[in-house]
Structure formats: structure tokens, C-alpha cells
């Protein structure tokens, strides 16, 4: 290989965390003026690898070459000085500072700040690349895509010639994603090298010049995008041929289970999070809920679960054995004590659904510890349940006394879903059920949801990957800004239609 052709080269990089080997002798190279995708499942070590380029982690072994010279990146500062800029998946911004203050954070320069000069320079960048940004706005007042813009401007302000983006499209609508890709192509044309970390195959194929694949911390290989297909990349990523089709059984005897009408909620600051939401969820169907992040998905599920303060509207539950219960204005505890079997797999698994530092037995206890009389808690029944779940769902854990935090993402989700379906629910709500899971675990979860559907459970599933929702669900409800912008038939709709509904501002209600 000739010198100078590569912007960055990684040779035999190894990084361990305790006993876990996150990267094992990984080699990788990105050319000048190209977009390289790093593809891999969650937990394959993509982010760890890139964090060694951005100076967050330090490699245990191996070499890093920038422009053909071996370098040591011991801190983020070293990384900037080499012209590397990373845009993290979780934005690295200080909420109470303005965009401009965030952008100049940690930079050298005159000790007394000259904010007008900084703002002028930022405006210049904004004009050159066509961003939309107010440099004097505080971060906590911004939307997710505005925050991402701040991150990109921050990197450019520092004069980075090499950009690393970690899952940049996870929080964007299809339209915003297109805009981002256009900017990235402009940068490539200007000679920048760009690395984009992703697990979305269509984006890889659309945007990048070459694809490098990682699997379980191992480097598998790099291919030209033009020679690759979704199937070939999946095989590299998973290590075996895998069918990408999701099974969708026909609905079983759908009958009205949950009826929500005119539901509105507010958050603590008094800002509306849900605006007049009206829909029906049927038994034996999977109702998908789509929308850009923060459109009210979380609040909707939590309102049904009795965890939100409802300002107006009603939630009615129709038990299979007949009758009607009004769930609105009931707390989670009230709903349980009514004997309504409503299960909820929240988005934040270790922060809400489970307690990370507790073992499986204690986590099983979360549901039903208070059942039965007496002062002391029963740990025998939960232990049995934990052992059953380990066996049935093939949870990889040393034993049921291991803190769930130390399990992998897929196993954590199996524990949570296993507990929630163990109570034979009539309504099952899941939020982002496969986020952070590898492909095999994802399919296990899809199967579990289908199994519940076949049992006649009303399943509500909030998802972010539209391709998955389109294949898995019967109907898809689209939220935008807390209001429903449409409820469509998943068998006939298209991704584009949903994408448009996701940004439509909820003027017209598309109820059936």
C-alpha cells in the first residue's frame, strides 16, 4: 500500500474491559475523500473502536496511523490536533450553555472570551454548508436534530478533516436523514474523510463508498459498496446466512380491548406531550406506533400504564370476559389491584423496567412482590420464575443471582420481556423492543410478540425502524408532536407515506 493514500489506518487494535475483549486485533483504513461505513451489530465494538480515535479510550495494543505517521492519541485533545472530529451518538453538549459556548468549549485561544467574534465565525460556517442554527440559543431549548447540527458545526469549527459519526440517523426523520446525507456528500466532495457507524443496511448502501464489517469485536473485512448487497453484508455481520423476513400471522378474532379518546398529557414543565390522541387497540393484533424520537410515544404508553398525569380524555379497557374499566386517573398500583393484566416493556430497560444492580430473582419480584399477606417478601416463587425464563428464552447468565446489569443487551431484554409476558397479559406494550439487540435476539423478540398476538393479546409496539414496523405490525399509528397524524394499514402503506406523516404537525386526524 502506498503511503499517503490513507487518512487513518488502524493496525491490530485490541481493547479489553476487564475480562471482556471489546476489540480484538482490528485493522481498518479510511482513504482521503471517501465515506467509509463501519457496520456491525450492537456490541460488536464499533463505538469502542472509534472512541480510541477520538481519545476517549486508549488501546491496549496496536497502532494508529494518521496520514501515514504513527500517532498516540491519549486524550480528545490529541485527536482534535490530528484533525479528527467525532459526533457521538449521545450528544456531548452542556445543556445550560449556548450553542456557541458549546462549540468553543476546550479550545485554546485568548483567555478573555470574545463571543461576538465566535458567533461571526459560526455564522460563516452555517452559511457555507446551509445549516439552520442560532448560535445564541441554549442547548436545553433545542430539538434533537438541532443538537446534532451543533455537534457537526462544533467539529467543523475545530477544522476537522476527518469526521466520525456514531449512528447519526437514529434520531432523525427520513427527510432529515436525506438532508444530513447531502451535507456529508458535500464534505466528501471538499476532500473530507468520513466514517459513519451504523447498523442500518440501506443507509450503508446509499451513502458509503466502502464498508468495513465488525463482528463480536473481530474485524471481518472491508468491501466496496458497489459490490455488496443487503444479504451479503448481513452474512458478514452475523456470520451466517439469515432470512431477513419477519413472519406476520393474520390477526386472531380481533375485538376491542383498549379505547383511547381525546387523550392529552403535560410534562412537569406544563408543556403538552400528547394532544387529543384517539385510537382503538384490538386483541390479536399488533399496533405499531411510529414517529420521530420524542413525539409522545413514551408518554402514550406510560399514560396507559398509569404513569402519566392526564389532563383530559379517557382510556377505557374492555376485558375479554366483558365489561369496561376506565383506566385514566388510575395509578399503576390501582390498575394492578383491579387485576387488569397489562404488561409494559419500557424503553429504558435498566433504568425503569429492571433494576440493574439487582439479580434476576429480585427483578422478577418487581411484579407481584406485594401480593400475598405478611411482612416478609417471598423469594421462592420469583426464583422459580427466573429459572423458567432462563431455560425457556435461553438467557445467557451464570446463574439467577447475577446482577442483570452485567448481562448483555439481548439477555437483559429477554429477562424483561419474559417477566412481562409471564403474567399472561391481555394488553402488552413494548417500546423499542429490539434497540441495541443483535439480529438473532431481535428475531427471538419478534417471535415472542407474534406468539402473544396469536394468544389474543392486544400488542402495542413503539418502533424506530420503519422497515421492521412495516413487516411486523397489522396497523401503524403515526405520532407527530404529540398528536396522531395517521393510522395506516401496515400491509398496504409505504415507508414514504409514514415518513411524511411523521413530520406533518398533526393538522388533520387520520382516524379510521
Amino acid at each position: 500500500m502506498e503511503q499517503g493514500n490513507y487518512a487513518i489506518e488502524l493496525k491490530n487494535i485490541t481493547k479489553r474491559f476487564g475480562k471482556v475483549v471489546a476489540n480484538d486485533k482490528v485493522c481498518l483504513a479510511v482513504k482521503k475523500g471517501e465515506i467509509l461505513s463501519i457496520l456491525g451489530e450492537n456490541g460488536s465494538g464499533k463505538t469502542t473502536l472509534m472512541n480510541m480515535l477520538s481519545g476517549i479510550y486508549f488501546p491496549d495494543e496496536g497502532q494508529i496511523l494518521v496520514d501515514g505517521n504513527e500517532v498516540t492519541i491519549a486524550s480528545p485533545k490529541d485527536s482534535f490536533e490530528l484533525g479528527i472530529g467525532m459526533i457521538h451518538q449521545h450528544f456531548k453538549l452542556v445543556d445550560v450553555l449556548t450553542a456557541a459556548e458549546n462549540i468553543i468549549l476546550g479550545l485554546p485561544g485568548k483567555e478573555i472570551l470574545d463571543m461576538p467574534a465566535v458567533t461571526a465565525k459560526i455564522r460563516e460556517l452555517i452559511d457555507r454548508y446551509g445549516f439552520e442554527l442560532n448560535p445564541n440559543q441554549k442547548i436545553y431549548e433545542m430539538s434533537v436534530s438541532q443538537k446534532q447540527t451543533v455537534e457537526i458545526v462544533k467539529v467543523l469549527y475545530r477544522g476537522a478533516s476527518m469526521l466520525i459519526l456514531d449512528e447519526p440517523t437514529a434520531v432523525l426523520t427520513p427527510q432529515e436523514t436525506e438532508k444530513l446525507f447531502a451535507i456529508l456528500r458535500n464534505m466528501r466532495a471538499a476532500g473530507h474523510s468520513i466514517i459513519i457507524i451504523t447498523h442500518k443496511l440501506n443507509e450503508v448502501l446509499e451513502l458509503s463508498d466502502r464498508v468495513a464489517v465488525l463482528r463480536k469485536g473481530q474485524y471481518i473485512g472491508t468491501v466496496e459498496t458497489k459490490d455488496a448487497t443487503a444479504e451479503s453484508l448481513t452474512e458478514m455481520m452475523v456470520g451466517k446466512k439469515i432470512s431477513l423476513d419477519i413472519h406476520r400471522p393474520e390477526p386472531v378474532k380481533p375485538e376491542k380491548r383498549l379505547e383511547i379518546s381525546g387523550l392529552s398529557c403535560e410534562n412537569i414543565e406544563g408543556i403538552p406531550t400528547l394532544k387529543g390522541v384517539t385510537f382503538t387497540a384490538n386483541s390479536g393484533e399488533i399496533l405499531g406506533i411510529a414517529g420521530i424520537a420524542g413525539s409522545g410515544q413514551k408518554e402514550l404508553l406510560e399514560a396507559v400504564a398509569g404513569l402519566q398525569i392526564i389532563t383530559s380524555g379517557t382510556i377505557s379497557y374492555y376485558p375479554p370476559e366483558g365489561g369496561q374499566e376506565i383506566l385514566s386517573e388510575k395509578t399503576a398500583a390501582d390498575i394492578r389491584s383491579l387485576g387488569i393484566r397489562l404488561s409494559f416493556v419500557p424503553e429504558d430497560r435498566l433504568g425503569m423496567g429492571l433494576v440493574g444492580s439487582m439479580d434476576m430473582v429480585d427483578n422478577m419480584m418487581l411484579r407481584g412482590y406485594n401480593e400475598g399477606k405478611g411482612f416478609f417478601a417471598d423469594r421462592k416463587t420469583p426464583r422459580k420464575l427466573a429459572e423458567e425464563i432462563v431455560e425457556k428464552l435461553e438467557v445467557a447468565t451464570p446463574d439467577v443471582s447475577t446482577p442483570v446489569r452485567s448481562l448483555s443487551g439481548g439477555n437483559v431484554q429477554k429477562v424483561l420481556v419474559g417477566r412481562e409476558i409471564s403474567s399472561n397479559p391481555t394488553v402488552l406494550m413494548v417500546a423499542y423492543p429490539v434497540r441495541g439487540l443483535d439480529i438473532n435476539s431481535s428475531y427471538t423478540i419478534y417471535e415472542l410478540l407474534n406468539e402473544q398476538k396469536k394468544k389474543g393479546v392486544a400488542v402495542l409496539c413503539v418502533g424506530e425502524d420503519l422497515d421492521v414496523l412495516l413487516e411486523l405490525c397489522d396497523k401503524i399509528l403515526v405520532l407527530c408532536g404529540g398528536a396522531i397524524t395517521g393510522i395506516v394499514d401496515a400491509r398496504t402503506t409505504t415507508k414514504e407515506e409514514i415518513g411524511l406523516l411523521m413530520t406533518r404537525n398533526g393538522k388533520e386526524q387520520g382516524n379510521e
Binding site: I56, V94, L97, G109, L113, I268
Partner: protein
Amino acid sequence: MGVFVIFIQKAIGQGIGMLYGALGEIVTEKSGNLNLGVPGIMYMGGIAGLMGAFLYEKSVAQPNGTVGLLISFACAFLCAMLGGLIYSVLTITLRANQNVTGLALTTFGVGFGNFFGGSLSQLAGGVGQISVAATGAAYKKTIPGLSNLGVIGDIFFSYGFLTYLCIVIALVLAFFLAKTRKGLNLRAVGENPGTADAAGINVTRYKYLATCIGSGISGLGGLYFVMEYAGGTWTNNGFGDRGWLAIALVIFALWKPLNAIWGSILFGGLYILYLYIPGLNRSTQEIFKMLPYVVTIVVLVVTSFRKSRENQPPDSLGLPYFREDR
């Protein structure tokens, strides 16, 4: 009129020590470290300053007040920094819990102060009561001329240099935090160390420096009590609970140095108010002495009612930061 002027003077006299403690704690807390060791650190600063002056005055026949002042000032600052260093090593490098470490440091610092305060003369060969007359006088020296300007002079110009230094530190600190690059970086460290780290700021260095320098400033509060307030003598537990009030003042001032200036005078006033309210007997005086604490509690409660994003403590306050946490 006269009573009022004296009240203001005394309130400022009480307030400045707390203001030093609070300013030091603001610097520390802006880096995300909640140092509950401030009361101990103030004792350490006070006794070290006194010891420095004492050993100097004992070793020369004709002690020079200015030299004693410089020596004691340096001793107080350095010894208080040492306290901050102990806290920093334990909480930053060894990641010990901040609350527990701070309380241990207070136990240690208060013991340190009282131990040396009580045994200093004995350790030095039994000369009786500690007294540093020359140095004490130097600290009490007011600005010539200005202090004779009647009421204005009495209220504004009747204090020793530590009082003015404290106001200057508060002003400089306010400017530093709002208008300088390092101040911006420091605020980022306290708000979100992960972000500061990714932006190339050396979080560990900022935390160490902020905590040690902050402790040094807090220690000057102890020096102030010993030298200007008590005139160069030591009484065991003489500071009482002013160290905790300094921490309360930080909350009261909403982490803003300029608020702390008038807050300290208010706290000082509340602290001695019982002496100036006519008709109080001994028992009701004790009730009045609760005021500074009750006011702090009220401020705590009121700030928790109004969830303004601008008046909150630094977001990572009390939490340890380490990068390779997995």
C-alpha cells in the same frame, strides 16, 4: 443611627468569613465536587495562619506586622489547599464518595485546628496563651484617611485588607466564570464532565485545581476569623458552625459569586440580629439564632419549587467521573 452603623459593621464582620468559605466552595462545586469538608478546611486555614505568625513572632525580637501577615497568609492558604488536596486525591483519583470524604475531612480539620490551637504553646515550649499582637494589628489596619469619612467611612472603610480582598475575589470570580475561557471550561466540567472530556478539557486537572484553590480561598475564611475577627487569638470551636453556613450561603447565592456578597452580609446580620432586637430575653435570643439556618432551608425549598434551569446546582455535583467505566 449609631446602632445601625454598628450593626452593619458587625454583620459584615460576621459575613466576610462565611463569604470566603462560600466563594471557595463555589469554585469547588463548579467543578462538580461537593466538598462538605469546608468547615474543617476553614479550621485548618485558621490555625495554620495563626501558627505561622506565632512561630515567626516568637523567633524574632521585634516582629514586623507585615512580615507576619505575609507568612500567616501563605500558611493559611497552603494548609487549606492541603486539605483540598486530601479531598481531591480521595474523591477524584480514588473515587471515594464525596459526602463521606467531606465529612471525614471536617472531622479531621476541626480536630486539627483545635488540637494545635490547644497545644501550640505547649508544643513550642510552654509560653502560655497564644498571641500574635503585631500580626493581628497588621490585619486590623484600615485604609488611612478613608475610615474617617463619618458614616460612609464607618460602613465602607473601617475594615482590614482581608475584607476588601474578599470582595475583590468575589468580583474576579464572577468575571472568571462568565467571561473567560477557563471559566467556561470549568463550568462545563461541573455540568457534564463527559462532554468536557470529549471536548479536550483535562477534567481531572480542572477538578484538582478548582478543589485545591477553592479550599485555599475557604481557608482564608478561617484566617479572617482568627486574625481580624478575634484579633490573633484562638478559641476552641471558636468558629462554631460558620463553616456549614458557608455551604448554606452557596445555595442561597444560587452558585453566583455576586449574590454571595450581599448574601453574606444578610447571613452575618441574621447571625447577630438577636443582639440588636430590643426586649429579647435569653431564651428568645436562642430562637433568633436559628434564623440563618431557617432562611437557608426556605431558600432550598423555594428553589426546589421553581425548577428554573438557570438556578440549579452544577448538574454533575456530587457524582464521580471516570472515563473508562464499563
